[in-house]
Amino acid sequence: MTKVSMNVNGKKVSRDVPDETLLSDFLREKLRLTGTHVGCDTSQCGACVVHVNGKAVKSCTTLAVSLEGAEVTTIEGLANGKELHPMQVAFNDNHGLQCGFCTPGMIMTSVDMVARYKAEGRKLTSDLIRQELEGNICRCTGYHNIVKSIEDASAKM
């Protein structure tokens, strides 16, 4: 057991956990933030993506104990109180989700994607969005409306 402290969605949290605890388990089981999902075990589906120190990370392939002092944002922490993040709004506006299981990871990846392109001053086209989504799998939507959602939010973020 190791005591790990981090800042999750703006709140400081500390828990004693076995060293092998993955960040996804830490969030889901220790903090009961069950919006972060686990959809595969080979780090490919992206349902578990959260932000660690401002970068998109697959929480199923990250040890919680390695994140002492880190700033973590999960899907539960994306909205500003009752006001949804533009990406969350765009997914609703554009029907970018169906079963909702991949959605938290999709949105966290998308927010990171748009932020990175904005920071680098690059334009995000639909082709680039599709490439950037290589680490996120959705089985329901055929991606059409996910790409539309990200294009939409990108214009508003």
């Binding site: 190791t2 076995p18 060293d19 092998e20 993955l22 075990d41 080979t42 780090s43 490919q44 992206g46 993506v49 970068k55 998109a56 990370v57 697959k58 199923c60 392939t61 990250t62 040890l63 104990v65 390695s66 990846t109 990171d112 994607m113 990175r116 680098e120 950037e132 290589e134 680490g135 996120n136």
Partner: protein
């Protein structure tokens, strides 16, 4: 996962001390391969020695003609580095296509090279660019470093600290991704520089990354995609699996070599 003990040494000597005499301890870099393997219960290290916090392990420094990239530098940082883009844009481009954005923000160049997965991208770049692998003990030429799939010249408690890459006058990497994993099914890195023309191929070989003498000879004589057409590319020694026969991989080597050359 099986229980393990996590360590985050602050120095190389602390890391070495943790590894010494413990066969079951493993070095943890970005963890994008190791943690995935541990989740499957196919690896059970007693101790994980996370070398990312060691001073000097991350970051990129340059001279006029060479890059030194710290072993714990992430793929995303290599891809975004102005220095890498300037001195060796092919390497930045390669890094920008490893895995996916979340993997790139965690995975490290040292981890990739030490693992020497037969479908990893970096080993092809190291070999083609005649890079030098710097460890806590010595400097190893790429030609002497990659010894077959998952096999390197690294000794038990030897830790990669950095790689040194010389700028090439021409270099490019063309990858054909395996459709499911998006790992390289065939990746061809072509480079022309002080070390001559070097062509390294990943993903395709039955025993990991290798250099292709025929392509190197042809491109030494004539650096053009048409020169590639004249080279015999044998399927012998190439991998055959669900995703592609050895013949298909041989074909892809030619096509990717042409595309890489054309991109320079």
């Amino acid at each position: 996962m099986y229980p393990t003990k996590y360590h985050k040494p602050a120095s190389i000597s602390d890391a070495v001390a943790l590894l010494a005499g413990n066969d079951e301890a493993m070095i943890l870099g970005g963890g994008q391969t190791l943690l995935a393997t541990m989740k499957q219960h196919l690896a059970a290290p007693s101790d994980l020695v996370d070398i990312r916090a060691i001073k000097g392990m991350s970051g990129i420094s340059t001279s006029d003609t060479a890059l030194t990239i710290g072993a714990a530098t992430t793929h995303a940082d290599v891809a975004a580095s102005k220095e890498v883009k300037k001195l060796c844009p092919a390497l930045a481009d390669l890094a920008s296509h490893i895995g996916d954005p979340a993997v790139r923000s965690q995975g490290t160049i040292g981890g990739s090279i030490a693992n020497n997965d037969p479908a990893a991208d970096y080993p092809a770049a190291m070999l083609a660019l005649a890079a030098t692998i710097v460890t806590n003990k010595r400097e190893i030429a790429a030609d002497d470093f990659f010894l077959g799939q998952f096999t390197t010249a690294l000794e038990e408690d030897e830790i990669i600290t950095a790689v040194k890459v010389n700028a090439a006058t021409k270099a490019a990497y063309a990858k054909f991704a395996q459709p499911a994993s998006l790992f390289a099914m065939v990746g061809v890195f072509v480079a022309k520089g002080a070390a001559g023309v070097r062509v390294a191929i990943t993903g395709a070989g039955d025993d990991g990354v290798f250099r292709h003498a025929g392509l190197e000879a042809a491109l030494t004589a004539d650096w053009s995609d048409s020169a590639v057409n004249e080279v015999a590319i044998s399927a012998d020694g190439l991998m055959s699996d669900l995703h592609g026969s050895a013949e298909y991989r041989a074909n892809l080597i030619r096509v990717m070599a042409k595309r890489a050359v054309a991109a320079t």
